[in-house]
């Protein structure tokens, strides 16, 4: 018996306003642009996908379950730009078939510079989830699945039962991601590992004509899941896959609509949420991750955010403000919004010349423009803190 575990990541950064060295007394965030993007994605992805999922839960009762992780900055934008999207998530939460995960409120890289700040942002997010959906999250996922022994230990100490990261060969070796593992130096916490092959089959390859499995049908996908050995098949993908990364005309919604039916045809498969997986199965081994990994790009490390010197300088300058900014309640939230990983992602030069992975709703013409804009805002904040 293996359990299929669906978890969808939902995040939209609050993008920065155009800010030059000459700019004075202007807002730091580009509300107009953020609203435009948010409304578009709501129309193409959030609303229709929520509707499909709600119908599926109605149809299958307790047999179909999913998990979400909604960032605090996503929820803030929901409240300002599309309250109906938030309503539909609340409706989903009332079905008891939807679990909400814990993460940092700001989708930040806080774990990389301050334990105190990291914990604070987790608490802010946990309280928000509790308020909105009346759930106390049991399973944690860090920004972009960033994970290490040290991060796992912090999460265990906060009382979580599970943590999510990437099921990559670099930490598993010959072992399968379809089992629970114990993070090194932890006793109570278990790690759920993303099955990146099956996840990317939907997230990246669904409409790829070069792929020998194209077109991907629900019955074919279910047969692959059924053939998997192990306890849990963790399909962790960005929610924007539905309707935005994979447009409606690729047939992604039809795929989603029939997938639970196809999966439940197999006697050896069921659906479980992450915390149910943690309760149902025992870890089979230890994973030892001394250096930080993530689920991003081919390297599966932090290089998408902190590889080049611009990214490092921007990050260091931001981190340096921690002490002083905490005495200023007005700027504290703004400073935290600057920690959102996307701002550093936009400065990435790694793939830029040929790839467009980093271009998705990117407000900048180049990584250099992203750097300049970020630094000008940071400088303005530094000035105000003096």
């Amino acid at each position: 018996m293996a359990s299929v575990c669906f978890y969808f990541q939902i995040h939209q950064p609050i993008r920065l306003n155009k800010f030059t060295v000459f700019t004075k007394n202007a807002p730091y965030f580009d509300n107009e642009r953020n609203r435009k993007y948010f409304e578009r994605i709501s129309r193409k992805c959030y609303l229709p996908t929520n509707k499909v999922l709600l119908n599926l839960i109605d149809q299958f009762g307790k047999k179909f379950k999913i998990a979400f992780s909604l960032t605090g900055v996503f929820i803030e934008q929901c409240k300002s730009f599309a309250p109906e999207v938030l309503e539909s998530f609340i409706e989903l939460s009332k079905t008891n078939c939807v679990e909400f995960l814990s993460e940092t409120y700001y989708h930040s890289l806080a774990a990389l510079f301050s334990v105190e700040e990291f914990k604070k942002q987790i608490k802010l997010h946990k309280d928000l989830v509790n308020d909105l959906f009346n759930q106390r999250p049991q399973v944690f996922r860090n920004t972009e699945a960033m994970y290490s022994n040290g991060i796992a230990k912090i999460i265990e100490d906060l009382g979580y039962k599970g943590i999510i990261t990437e099921g990559h060969e670099s930490i598993l070796g010959w072992r399968s991601p379809n089992y629970l593992y114990t993070p090194k130096d932890c006793n109570k916490l278990v790690a759920l590992l993303r099955n990146y092959k099956l996840s990317d089959d939907i997230g990246f390859r669904f409409s790829a004509r070069w792929w020998e499995e194209y077109p991907l049908t629900a019955d074919k996908y279910a047969s692959w899941a059924s053939a998997c050995e192990g306890n849990c098949i963790n399909i962790f993908i960005d929610y924007e896959t539905f309707g935005e990364h994979q447009w409606e005309d690729t047939g992604i919604f039809e795929f989603l609509k029939v997938l639970p039916h196809e999966i439940l045809k197999y006697n050896n498969l069921d659906f479980k949420t992450p915390s149910e997986i943690v309760k149902s199965y025992k870890p089979v081994g230890i994973i030892d991750v001394p250096h930080i990994i993530s689920w991003a790009d081919i390297q599966r490390d932090t290089s998408a955010w902190l590889e080049n010197d611009m990214q490092r300088l921007a990050f260091e300058r931001m981190a340096k403000l921690e002490k002083t900014v905490k005495k200023n309640s007005e700027l504290l939230h703004i400073w935290r919004l600057l920690q959102t990983s996307d701002h550093f992602y936009y400065m990435c030069t790694k793939w830029w010349a040929d790839g467009d992975v980093h271009k998705y709703f990117n407000p900048y013409n180049s990584p250099y423009d992203a750097f300049i804009n970020f630094m000008n805002i940071l400088q303005d904040i530094e000035r105000r803190l003096k």
């Binding site: 010197d309 010349a353 250099y368 630094m375 000008n376």
Partner: protein, 378 residues
């Protein structure tokens, strides 16, 4: 294959990118086994050219295409004598060419197009026309000469194939000249980057460089106004304007008016060697051209390890990713970028390393290959 190339400038006598283009093109065509017969105007000095498979014929005439300050033969604009010389050169080219054997004719810009068209009419050989810039570009659309535009238009009509240096140019040739898009092929210019200093260590003397002819086309005014804005924020920056041209006195007046002469240097004409140093010493190269069909100087700056800010509508902006692309009139934004590059040296460092890597896509052998493909398709 025997190609008759009608050139305009050729090293060492050159005033712009076209001379470099002609030289590198025929050299690389020659290397690939194409026999080239090159006609160029005869300059005052006798120069021996020794290029494999290339025969250089100097045709008696002494054309200087732009009115540079040390050439006294012109009054305003191109001047009357200049047009007479162009006519004479074209006549002479036809006369000499008819005594020779060739399979096709390849002309560069309007200045040799008349001879190209005549030769096509007489011999029936195919005519390839490369447009490096148009009259609208060269004059920044201020009093373009109808007489030249007409030659360009006819050239585009009569050519069997047209080559141009950017998509932006192709669009212009279609929209402004009614050119037939099906016979216009874009071949980006190349660069022999080994001639330049490469990624040497920067001394960070806060030098911002403009290099080009001082004409409306190249946008030196915008450079000066940008300088004034930068200097509002930082006083430790030196703005170097390298090159000569008819706008020099006016530019000096403007710089005085803006009260920035303490931070501006006009170098005048630079020798090839001085040019290499100018590129390498600069912390930032700015090319705020109003019109720039390609923009070879941006590649030369990159080859000298200098990060560049280029006009959005330049041809080079279509191909180079690791640079800033700006509206030439947006001096506010250009100043913003310059200040940030000076404030955060890591920015320029990242940019110059990444852009230097992009130069490998700009080999002249690639230009020659694509040109041969055009010849073969005739």
């Amino acid at each position: 294959m025997q190609v008759l190339v009608l050139g305009w400038e050729f090293p060492p006598a050159k005033t712009g990118g076209l001379g470099t283009h002609c030289y590198e093109l025929v050299k690389n065509l020659g290397k690939k086994g194409v026999n080239v017969l090159l006609f160029i105007p005869k300059r005052s000095k006798n120069v021996k050219h020794n290029i494999e498979n290339v025969e250089v014929v100097e045709v008696g005439s002494s054309i200087m295409p732009y009115n540079t300050s040390n050439s006294k033969i012109f009054e305003e604009g191109y001047g009357w004598n200049f047009f007479e010389e162009v006519k004479a050169f074209n006549r002479k080219c036809v006369e000499l060419a008819l005594k020779r054997k060739f399979d096709l004719i390849h002309c560069h810009d309007w200045i040799t197009a008349v001879a190209g068209m005549q030769l096509k009419n007489i011999t029936g050989k195919p005519f390839v026309f490369t447009v490096h810039s148009t009259e609208y570009d060269r004059t920044a659309n201020i009093y373009p000469l109808k007489h030249i535009i007409d030659i360009e238009k006819r050239g585009l009509e009569e050519a069997d194939m047209v080559i141009t240096v950017s998509n932006h140019m192709k669009k212009q040739l279609i929209e402004r000249y009614g050119g037939d898009g099906r016979k216009i092929k874009v071949i980006y210019n190349g660069i022999d980057y080994t001639r330049f200093f490469g990624l040497t260590r920067k001394e960070h003397k806060n030098i911002v460089l403009f290099l080009g002819r001082l004409t409306n086309q190249k946008g030196p005014y915008f450079f000066l106004h940008t300088a004034a804005k930068v200097l509002e924020k930082r006083k430790d920056v030196l703005f170097v304007i390298a090159g000569e041209g008819d706008q020099l006195p006016e530019l000096i007046r403007i710089a005085i008016g803006l009260n920035i002469m303490d931070n501006v240097v006009f170098t005048g004409y630079l020798t090839e060697e001085e040019l290499l140093y100018a590129y390498a010493m600069a912390d930032i190269y700015v090319m705020p051209s109003v019109a720039e069909p390609f923009g070879i100087t941006a590649l030369e700056a990159i080859a000298s390890g200098t990060p560049v800010i280029v006009s959005k509508n330049s041809g080079v902006a279509e191909k180079i990713m690791h640079c800033f692309k700006v509206d030439y009139w947006d001096t506010h934004e250009i100043a913003n970028k310059i200040i940030c590059m000076l404030d955060y040296p890591v920015l320029g460092e990242c940019m110059r390393r990444n852009s230097f890597r992009e130069l490998k896509d700009f080999g002249w052998d690639r230009v020659a290959e694509q040109t041969i493909a055009v010849y073969r398709g005739l």
